[in-house]
Symmetry: none
Subunit: 326 residues, 6 copies
Amino acid sequence: MLDLPKFKAAAVQASPVFLDVDATVDKAISIIAEAAGNGASLIAFPEVFVAGYPYWNWIMTPVQGSKWYEKLYVNSITVPGPETDKICQAAKEHDCHVVIGVNERGQSFGELYNTNLIIDNKGMLVGKHRKLVPTWAEKLTWTGGDGSSLKVYNTEIGPIGTLACGENTNTLARFTLLTQGELIHIANYISLPVAPPDYDMAEAIKIRAAAHSFEGKLFTIVSCSTITKEIIDIMKEDVPNAEELLTRKNSAFSGVIGPNGAVIGEPLIDEEGIVYADIDLSKCIQPKQMHDILGHYNRFDIFDLRVNTAPRKNITFTDGDESGQK
Amino acid sequence: MLDLPKFKAAAVQASPVFLDVDATVDKAISIIAEAAGNGASLIAFPEVFVAGYPYWNWIMTPVQGSKWYEKLYVNSITVPGPETDKICQAAKEHDCHVVIGVNERGQSFGELYNTNLIIDNKGMLVGKHRKLVPTWAEKLTWTGGDGSSLKVYNTEIGPIGTLACGENTNTLARFTLLTQGELIHIANYISLPVAPPDYDMAEAIKIRAAAHSFEGKLFTIVSCSTITKEIIDIMKEDVPNAEELLTRKNSAFSGVIGPNGAVIGEPLIDEEGIVYADIDLSKCIQPKQMHDILGHYNRFDIFDLRVNTAPRKNITFTDGDESGQK
Amino acid sequence: MLDLPKFKAAAVQASPVFLDVDATVDKAISIIAEAAGNGASLIAFPEVFVAGYPYWNWIMTPVQGSKWYEKLYVNSITVPGPETDKICQAAKEHDCHVVIGVNERGQSFGELYNTNLIIDNKGMLVGKHRKLVPTWAEKLTWTGGDGSSLKVYNTEIGPIGTLACGENTNTLARFTLLTQGELIHIANYISLPVAPPDYDMAEAIKIRAAAHSFEGKLFTIVSCSTITKEIIDIMKEDVPNAEELLTRKNSAFSGVIGPNGAVIGEPLIDEEGIVYADIDLSKCIQPKQMHDILGHYNRFDIFDLRVNTAPRKNITFTDGDESGQK
Amino acid sequence: MLDLPKFKAAAVQASPVFLDVDATVDKAISIIAEAAGNGASLIAFPEVFVAGYPYWNWIMTPVQGSKWYEKLYVNSITVPGPETDKICQAAKEHDCHVVIGVNERGQSFGELYNTNLIIDNKGMLVGKHRKLVPTWAEKLTWTGGDGSSLKVYNTEIGPIGTLACGENTNTLARFTLLTQGELIHIANYISLPVAPPDYDMAEAIKIRAAAHSFEGKLFTIVSCSTITKEIIDIMKEDVPNAEELLTRKNSAFSGVIGPNGAVIGEPLIDEEGIVYADIDLSKCIQPKQMHDILGHYNRFDIFDLRVNTAPRKNITFTDGDESGQK
Amino acid sequence: MLDLPKFKAAAVQASPVFLDVDATVDKAISIIAEAAGNGASLIAFPEVFVAGYPYWNWIMTPVQGSKWYEKLYVNSITVPGPETDKICQAAKEHDCHVVIGVNERGQSFGELYNTNLIIDNKGMLVGKHRKLVPTWAEKLTWTGGDGSSLKVYNTEIGPIGTLACGENTNTLARFTLLTQGELIHIANYISLPVAPPDYDMAEAIKIRAAAHSFEGKLFTIVSCSTITKEIIDIMKEDVPNAEELLTRKNSAFSGVIGPNGAVIGEPLIDEEGIVYADIDLSKCIQPKQMHDILGHYNRFDIFDLRVNTAPRKNITFTDGDESGQK
Amino acid sequence: MLDLPKFKAAAVQASPVFLDVDATVDKAISIIAEAAGNGASLIAFPEVFVAGYPYWNWIMTPVQGSKWYEKLYVNSITVPGPETDKICQAAKEHDCHVVIGVNERGQSFGELYNTNLIIDNKGMLVGKHRKLVPTWAEKLTWTGGDGSSLKVYNTEIGPIGTLACGENTNTLARFTLLTQGELIHIANYISLPVAPPDYDMAEAIKIRAAAHSFEGKLFTIVSCSTITKEIIDIMKEDVPNAEELLTRKNSAFSGVIGPNGAVIGEPLIDEEGIVYADIDLSKCIQPKQMHDILGHYNRFDIFDLRVNTAPRKNITFTDGDESGQK
């Protein structure tokens, strides 16, 4: 008889130690200890938690922001690397799964990725996902990832997938995860007080999480960062009214959404903290009777989605024989 | 200079004259007159408004429901036909666009479709969409449509698309409309007091409308039916506790959702009535800067969706010449 | 509201005036008068009623049968022709539909077809069907028809299709009729006392009629010929033990089968007579909920049947311009 | 000189241990031992014998049935898996072929298939067939299979094909098996006391088996389940009058039909038991002279059936090179 | 009841009045009178009876033959014209059908055709056939006809077709006549003592007539010319050893062949005279049971013969609009 | 310089060991040894030599003949298979080409073909031809082949084609071989004492061979079977007067016909034996000057014959991708 996992999930709403990679890793490890201590088997961290979000893109001109790019670059990490080793070690020690956002360096100095890491409770870095398209002002900092990282990972607690921030708007990216049997979706974000005035960030996060949970009949864990006084102070160096710009309400939302699209328990709005929720994957069965867009409620005789999972290649070296490319 | 349409939309929340095709068409025409009188240029009617939803599938056994199927069948319509002619005439007379759900007969007696008609303000039946997959108990009544009706129609007031009820859960169907430039989406539903207890129909409608509007940066008009005492009385013939089963609260939602996913004005919950909203399509421009999943915010080097729009053929008669099939 | 036809059908079980085309046409007309007088709106006659079945193929050697072929040939008819004119006139006078089997001459003297005529109540010869493949010994007499005659004809009393004898075994021929909306199927046969001993003709007729009715949820009218003493006496000329060979029991079955595959009323076995049955096409609706192999119960994404309806051409005369062949 | 197999077949009429997958597998193994002990080389089990049929769909509302769906889901199996291993082992030990119906889990929680397994006497799971379209109320539980499983398997005892229940109504599915040289057809069913009153299940089973055997000139083995007091008691939890609803006579039929469409020996109606029959495949030769719809009695110049055997794909992951899709 | 014609046919073996058109027409008329007087309803004359065969092509060099071409040209006729009027008149007076070969002038002086005329018993010139390809040395004189004259003509005595001499070797030309229902084939020839030594002209005529009759199950009337002393004397003008060259035995054959390929009665070899035979078209029926290459014994799903019947056009005047050629 | 083959051909007139496939193959091999020993490079065997002709179709009723069909079926062969391997081996050992008729089994039990095998002197089975249409009574036994086997095979001794029995009547089938450059035509037959009285089998064979040789200017090798006392005795089991029916004179003809249509040497009539003839293909050149119906003596601007060589398909399995059907 089939027996599906039950576990406690933790959605972390917190800020990194801004642009300080080592301190931020330490902070992450300490949050892991806390949440695991409270029984969490899955701990979701915000987008680019290590080591901060390039707010300058939204409140400075590109040229002003240029030196900040360098600061971010040198505080970014390689994957794997010493920083990921530490986090993996913590996951193993505390027997919990961790999904966490990082700034990942590529090969070229202009190649910085907004990456989510998926780490299992054995401390194994089982996968990573590079955000496909940075959102609006983020294009000034990050390079888009490729289709090779649109994966769902089977773990002891169930199949886990993740998308960063605006990607949760992308119908096709979401469907690509759903179709791999995703039951636990981590959508992580950053607090975005700088969005246009009629853009209610907390609401926009909720709409997308509810939609993904409802369409896929699964659990979505939303983890969002916060903005600390420290961040504002740092930005003030170049933007005198940074405080005004970075303190809008309803800019962050963390919480857990169930298979019917409803929030489980209380979400956190703007405040730092950890939201816990009990997840029972067997709750994903009954709603599938209504709509199973991966099964009886879709029409794969009509819809044929093809996803190119080839890693990006900058160049291909061949021996001149087309049929035998390497 | 591009000048995008502005107009008033009406979302009708009403019940048909149950299983009486002629009386229901008359009622539809009278609602058209009223809404157009109030300035509406687009009037959205509920799913299968003509002439009713097969509630028996949810509250009777299939065998009990069998005779009701026949009643529905003989009160279904062909498209086009005398009933659609009447509705088209009303649209023309009142110079308004109408989207309305009907029970459409196919060629075989088991072939009944849940169809939405799109009629323009010249009284032209510009298109129809047959629901792709009936939802759960509805499978006992309807046959699924094919990909040929997943179309967006250009009209004087803008490009209109429509999906019926549960189809709004289907990521790929929604994307297929978005990609054709849809700016006005009609999502129509039926009041569903018979869903499972943890399924809040009004909320489930709203989640999907918000998601579609937010992902596509467009306007969604939601029209949902209501359940009258008459319907309950008719069902009581076979189901003594029909009243108890068919009167749950929060079972119907009609209203208009804007490009940011937020409800415009006040929606109607459960009550019969008409929701009006002013639509200004130029509001769809600015949000596209953030996420345009049909443009800069998607990755068509990764995602390749192919949609089979071939009409379903039960058989193909040929003249024996492969190259010249008919 | 859809209103489907109700009418009385007559299944004729009778023998022709053997190899006498004029006398047989007279007999057919007199049966039409009788059945129409009893209220029948549809009268089904046996296979090749005009003017007899080539029993010699089963009880003589081919060479012995050769002279009988010539007798049959000169007693065959062209379609249309004076004989069909007479039958059409009778159908018109008695306001009834007639399906009747004839031996039809083609252009070449070796081209004799086993043809069913479909005549409406206005006396119009609306169609004909030439048996596709003659059964076993019949191959000595008849040429197979082509796909152009696999048609269902819409009439006042509903859509009518017909197959002759063994064709009712052909899954694909049957489906080709079903898919055109057939609701009234005429399966006509000849009494076949000469089949192999373990072949129970009456039962074999019933199996096929039940299958077609059940699969298509329609009415099948079975009309079968009988063998008279006259036929036996004529065959005795060349086959002394003709009586013994041609009098096996259970060799003929006529009757009406309903949409559930069950015989309506009492069928006729072996005896000459007319079986009447009241047909109500609305009975074809409810069973379609269970299995509608033309609609929700088939998979046209899997099955793609193509039927070549081109008339057989021995030669094509062209004007030398490929694009405008005649 | 060609020498065709002769063997004994067993058609099992029995009920599973309702919704208890392990106990049902044990029961299946014990029946295999018994039937093989009586000389059977082929043992046919009912549709979804492992571990029961969703009767709730016929006697409860969909919402009431929802929790039963979950019970069925967790008592369904993967193929292959530990349960199929056990059955294969039994087939090998007893040197017999087994065809048995199971509830098979797909990847998504809404994806449950009505699957028939074909196991040979070496204990090899040679194939499986997923029912293409669930029948009426069954649509509430099962997803339809694809064309990849419409196969006939060559075994020591001859070529075996199978269709589940209502599929035997599908002309085109049947023909697809016939055309692969099927000589032994297993049609399995469930006892269906809940069909509409004018639907005589035992008769409806017989009509279809007779038609398939007659059209294909082959042997059909029909195996049907029974309804035990245990099942009724379980259903009584939610449906007080379950006993009345589930005890109609003539709801189950098991037996063997020969190439002429006649039942061989005595079939079992409603009662639990095993029907044995001696099968001699050389009996399939002589009747082919009369009608061979795969050979001389068909017209493949007219009929061109194309069957899509591609497995259903929810999505296709490519390496970006169209010519080398994976 | 079908009643097929019976009649007497006459195959004329005679020589023209060499290169004297008027005298030859008179001779033809006198033969018509004689044969009709003996009861013939169909009288077949040799190839180019009017007014002689260009033997010079076989026994002179082309340049020597040149003046003879001119003699032939001026003794050729137009069709219709005064000469054909006379022959038609004779056919009418004697109530008989006539097929006769003539040298027909075309529009250009180099355009001379080897033409057979078909005249009915009302004196109507119902058709003509121009030899498609002249044989070997004949190419020095005649132009080939086009496909417009490959016709079979229905007459009171049955459907008549004709081919001249070597055309009876052309499988496709023969088949083109057969397929139009030809039952009476006129194959006319000229006495050919000048063929290569191992070419037995009488035998070669018989082989082809037997083949056409056997394949088509029809009657072939062979009419062949003779060589008179007059012809030899005329040729001697330029070819001293003309007598030696033009008197080989077995160079002419006239007679009638029946549907089984056998000669009816006695043919004429070399000698001038008339062969009479009684034709009963009903004899064409029974042999069709064996092989009917226009019906059951052919495979028009395999063979598709297209025949261009467009009259030869030397030039086409257009208005420059391709789609509207005249 | 072109050097055309010269060789000795052997036309075998013999009977099989009736309905005993193994003994007949042995007899064939022994005849190969004998003929090759006498210098033959090409040995032609009768139609369906392996293992006999279904005479019962001509002298019994179809039902009486039914059991004999089964005997023939089990004594038929697959191609290739162990029996063809043996014959190929003999051809290789004796360095000669063999054309031999066999009863070939298809996939369905009603699918028996009248097949000629073409084997070269390396023991390679280079091709087979399935008779397109069985003749008259033969339709009770054989299924017609398709156009894929209308081929001429280039061999060391020249281009070889073959047609079985009545096919040599088919103008279009013959032309299809001619047009591929056929120079050596094998026409094989069975002794047919059972034809209608006015059908002289030996003469009918000769007419067709002469016609084909004359039209195509090629060599025809005719091989015909004989009827032994053994065959008569076996048929006597069911037909007391079998001896009378099966002993008519002039029922078999074997021999060789040259390019002018004349028999070379002495043919064999009725008696068992081998006819030898010296073939010199250069004899096919000169007669082409007179009539070359594949070249200057035809009019391909008028005649356009299209031959469908597609193998017959009962069904087509596709992967759903029209462009890549299998």
